[in-house]
Every structure is written in C-alpha cells, then in structure tokens.
Amino acid sequence: MKRTRLAGLLLASTILAAGTATAQDVTLTIESWRNDDLTIWQDQIIPAFEAAHPGIKVQFTPSAPTEYNAALNSKLDAGSAGDLITCRPFDASLSLYQGGKLADLSGLAAMANFSDVAKSAWQTDDGAATFCVPMASVIHGFIYNKDAFDALGLAPPATMEEFYAALDKIKEDGTYVPMAMGTIDQWEAATMGYQNIGPNYWKGEEGRLALIKGEQKLTDEPWVAPFRELAKWKDYLGDGYEAQTYPDSQNLFTLGRAAIYPAGSWEISGFNAQAGFTMGAFPPPVAAAGDTCYISDHTDIAIGMNAATKHPEEAKAFLEWVGSSEFAALYANALPGFFSLNSAPVEMADPLAQEFVSWRGKCSSTIRSTYQILSRGTPNLENETWNAAANVIKGTETPEDAAKRLQDGLASWYEPQK
C-alpha cells in the first residue's frame, strides 16, 4: 500500500513537472566570442531585455575569440548552436548566410535604424539581404599612460616625427617600456600595428577600394610605407617582445610598466578596471602636420539568428530590441569602446571612449583593408598579413619582401589583382 502511494506521488510529481515545463519561458541562447563581456551581458544587458519581455529568457554562452569561428561552424553543422549568433564581419558571416545557417533579417523594422555603411559588413555583395543586426564598431588608435607623459613632459604626438621623438624620450628615460606590444600572437602586429597606422598612408577608403578594384597593389608605396614604420617599432618594444603574448602586453600597460599601447577601443573597459593611472588616447599620427587623418573605424560585431532556431519569433523580438536606441545606449555605456552603429546619437560617459569617438568628427573613417572580399581565397590575406607584420617588426623580413609576398599571394587567386 505504502509502495503504491509512493509510486502515485512520483507519478504526480512528474506530471506536475511536465506541467510547469510547458508553461515555462522560452530560453534563447547567444553564441559569442566576447567572453570578456560575460558579466556585462548577465548583469546589465540581459536583465534589461528580460524586464521588457516577460516570457523570454536569454543565456549568453561565449567561447574564446580564437576558437569561435571553428566552434560555431561545427555547432551549426551539428545543429547544436544557439538561437542567436554573434556575427563576425564580412565573409565569415556571409558564408554562413549563403550556407543557410543564418536567417535573412532584411524585414526587421529595426534595420531602418542603421546606415548602409553600418550594414555593409553583414549584407550580400549586392546589398539585397541583410542577415545580422549591427551592434558596434571599434576604433584603432594609441592609448597612453598620462601620468608617464606628464612626468616626462610629453604631449600626445600628432605627427610621426613627434611620435618617434616621444618614444625616444621614454626610452632614454628608462622608467617605462616605450610601447607595449608582442609579436608571438601575430594579430597584435597586424591589427594594432598595420591596420592601426595604415589608413593614414593608403588614405582610408580611397586606398582600400582601389585595392579591391585592382587599381592599387600591395607593393605600392601607400601599402609598403606602414610596414616601414612597423620595422622601426622593434627598438621601442620590451625585452623579449618576441615571446610576449597579447595578455602580457595588456598587463604590461595596465601595471604602469609601459607608456604607450597600440590599441583598439575594445580595450577601454578592461583598462579602466585594471589601470591605476590616468589614460589618454591619440589617433594614429599623420606624416606631416595638417595632413588629413584617417582612422580605422571597423564594423566589428553584429548579431543574427540561427536559421534552425526553434523560437524564431522570440529571437526576432530580441533582435528588434538590439536594433533599438535603448540597446545602443545601454551597450555603448556598458562596454565603452564598442561604439554603436545605430543612427541615433548615443551619449557616452566614459572620457576615454569620448576621446576615441571624437576622432570620427575630424578624421575620415575606414574599415580594415583585408576584411572585405580580399580574404576570400587561399592564401588568406588577413592571416598572411598577421604573419608579415610580425616578421617585419622582428626584422626577419624586409617591408618590401613582406609586401611582395602578400601581393603574390593575393594575385594568385584574386582576379582584379592578376
């Protein structure tokens, strides 16, 4: 008798559990490479969305940036990927869309909040379909230790000449490593080096588009000159920079041991939390005073919908919210350094972020030269650029040889460059 009652109780409890499960909220899972932002999503962004949308729960499940693309592709193929997919710009996401993994979002009302340039990184080549809602761009420049600059009587350099003069002075003084950068991870050299200072030489969009059309070559002066500058950087990097990793560089700067950090604006929130000194920022110095300045304002991050999601309606509701100005203000302030692509202007409180975004007003913006179309083939131009930039800084390859190798690689598969 007792046993039947127990069984009855168990049975009842399962029915009860099943009953609550059906009434339970829909849970959306977000795939992302921004594991640094986990707490911000959990504590600020997701609660704000959930408060406005009862019945939808959101989970942020990031993976490491270097593993994201491979992991995401495998998960999508296996059908185990999340409902919402954080989109890399250009081809990585385009191929997912063409492979039917990302849904077409052209019909979202929120798409009207973004300019064509903002959307260009997540559209088909003809611009007919947009498959991710743009979230943010990142701006390149240099972050410096203001206390160190004040102690040495230095002002933020505006020209390349002043830049090297400042580096020489810091080096002579010896208190600080002049510049915090390592070459072992390679991408620092390419992204924070070549793509950071490069736009001033190839004149931003003008050079980038000419390269895509085949009117300029990577062996032309505007494309070799940034490599020549990088080759001079070696003397200003710390001891053993060849084995210095990206986190090493970040720590070296935030611990106050280095004076200048070639940066992307995404560093701002991390640096604010870590650094115990005042920081300032300056845009990539120009060749001669008064030259037009160009900055890399790279459309970096967007979010799309897994075409195979079981909850398309809820996912679309989330994406509409991501496209709203409410999200733009929340995101830009929670993550200073990720600048909203939303057409509505966003007020930002962080002074360093304000400094970065102020360059949009006085310089011309461009995106990273290797991202659109040019990294579609093998050898992959972006990955080759990492390697070339690291080699040039170490001095194991001359700027001219590196440029020639990149050009040969590109010309081997890219029709307009043949």
Partner: protein, 303 residues
C-alpha cells in the same frame, strides 16, 4: 561430421566490431572519401585527386605542407634522440636493486604524463615568459642571464623548445615500458652472466639492452605515431597559426587550420581531409616500414 555453425562467435564479436566500425573505421574511410570531393555551388562535387594536386602542386599549399612535414620530422628526431635515451637511462637506474626511493622517483617522473596539454603548454609558457617567467630570473641568479632568449618567440628555437617540453612531459612512458621489460629479465640470466664475469655496465650493454630491444622498437613506433599525430601542445602554446612565422607548424596544426579555418580563413573540410589522408599515408608508411624491416629482424628470446 558436419561442423555446427558457431553463431555465438559472431554474437560475442558483434559489440566490439560494431563500436569499432562506428567510431574508427567509418570515420577513417569517410575522411578518405571526403578528400576526393570539393566544394561546389550547391554541395560537394566529386573532384578526384584535385585536392591532392593542389596540396602538392600549388606553390603556397605545397610550401606549407613541406614546412609542416619538415618541422614534424624535427619534432620526431628530438623525441627519438632525447626522450627515448633518457627514458631508457632512467629505467636502467630505477631498476638498480640498491636505489633508494625508487618508487618516489618513478612517480615523480611519470606525473607530467598525466597532466593535460593545456596545463603543460600554459605552465611552460609562463615559466619561459620574458616578463613574468622564472626562467630569466633563475638564469640571472646564477649569472647566466645572457643565455636567456625569448625561446618560444624565436624562429630558430621555438620548435626545439616545444619538442623538449613535450619530452619533459612524456619521458615517463618509455621509462615505464623499459622498466617493466627490465624487471621481466630473469635473475638466472644475469647470474649466469655474472659467473662468466659480466657485471655492472657490461651486463647492461651486453645482456639487458639486447633483451629489451623489442620494447625499444615498440616505443619508437609509439613515438612516431604520437609525434606525427601531435597537435595539442603546439596549439596550446603557440595557437593555430603555429608562430613565429610557421616555424612550429606541424601536420596537426596545418590540418586544424585548413579543416576548421582560422580567423578570416574559412574552413575547408575537403582540403583538410586531403591533409588528413596524407598524414594517414605517412604514418601508415612509417609503421609498415618498421613492421617489415625492423620488427621481423629483431631477435626474441624465450626464457
């Protein structure tokens, strides 16, 4: 008399055969099949040996492949030249009857083997780091700071450094195998040698070593297969680009980059499968060479 069909044999073999087929044989042949296709507009299209022609004929692909293979050979050479002799030496010392704390040494030397690659890669990266590492300060303490170099970041040293880290991690395996083989040598044989005047080192070189040669052969082949399949340590320490300047790129990392893609480079399962097939062929050739040329000539002794 008719032989009764022995169905139970098939029944008992079935689970193992099915599992092995599902997780080993099918993926292996599917990989070989995958390498014969290429990505088409709507789906994979049959391409015959086109992927292999690209791999060996295209200057970029073949340069990367031969670079990875060359690095892999060097990785293997270091293991054969450093790991296995040290392993044999350690086993010989450990099997010495009068050594005290033998069990402790044995465990201590074997422990790195059970550590994860990620931990080993990360720990050694920190030890050798020019900024926070203890290697520069330790060398400084004995006045040899000038010998320090950022080894993992220099093209000339990075691969050798990583190979030595891997040796450090895996030296316990040859040690254990040889140790077991040494213990299996009957006392009688050694005593007979002693009566004939062969003791100490002579006994090791002339009696023990010939008797453990088959074990050394097995270790060599395990090292060969392990090294040509290696990937984890390089990936954990240097990332998928196997820097600096591809100087630590071995077949495993080359395969990973190609198959899964990296950063802006999209994964290409078909070229990846072609590389995997080439790796399979290299390992198969190596193992066959060993089995037919060396293993058959090794003399075995029955006690």
């Amino acid at each position: 008399m008719a032989v009764r069909p022995r169905f139970h044999v098939a029944v008992f073999l079935a689970p193992a055969v099915l599992v092995y087929t599902a997780v080993m044989i099918f993926p292996l042949f599917n990989t070989l099949r995958l390498s014969l296709y290429a990505r088409g507009g709507t789906g994979p299209v049959f391409a015959g040996l086109e992927n292999f022609r690209t791999l060996f004929g295209d200057p970029h692909w073949s340069a990367a492949f031969w670079n990875a293979l060359g690095n892999n050979v060097w990785f293997f050479v270091i293991h054969m030249a450093v790991q296995n002799p040290i392993g044999i030496g350690l086993a010989a010392i450990l099997s010495h009857p009068r050594l005290r704390f033998a069990t402790f040494y044995r465990s201590a030397i074997f422990i790195p083997t059970i550590l994860s690659f990620v931990i080993v890669g990360f720990a050694w990266k920190l030890i050798l780091s020019p900024i926070w590492g203890i290697a520069p300060s330790m060398l400084d303490a004995v006045g040899l700071k000038s010998l320090y170099a950022p080894w993992l970041g220099k093209e000339d040293y990075a691969l050798t450094t990583l190979a030595l880290i891997s040796v450090w991690q895996f030296v316990g395996i040859p040690m254990m195998l040889i140790y077991a083989a040494l213990l299996a040598i009957p006392e009688g044989v050694l005593e007979a040698g002693e009566i004939d005047g062969i003791t100490g080192w002579a006994a090791f070189w002339r009696i023990k070593l010939p008797l453990v040669l088959p074990s050394i052969g097995i270790i060599s082949i395990l090292t060969f297969v392990g090294n040509f399949n290696a990937f984890d340590l390089i990936y954990a320490a240097q990332g998928a680009l196997a820097g600096p300047d591809f100087s630590t790129d071995i077949l495993g990392t080359f395969l990973y980059r190609t198959f899964f893609g990296f950063q802006l480079q999209l994964g290409d399962p078909h070229m990846g499968a072609a590389i995997a097939t080439a790796m399979f062929a290299i390992i198969l050739a190596g193992v066959c060479l060993y089995l037919f040329l060396i293993q058959t000539r090794l003399r075995r002794y029955q006690f």
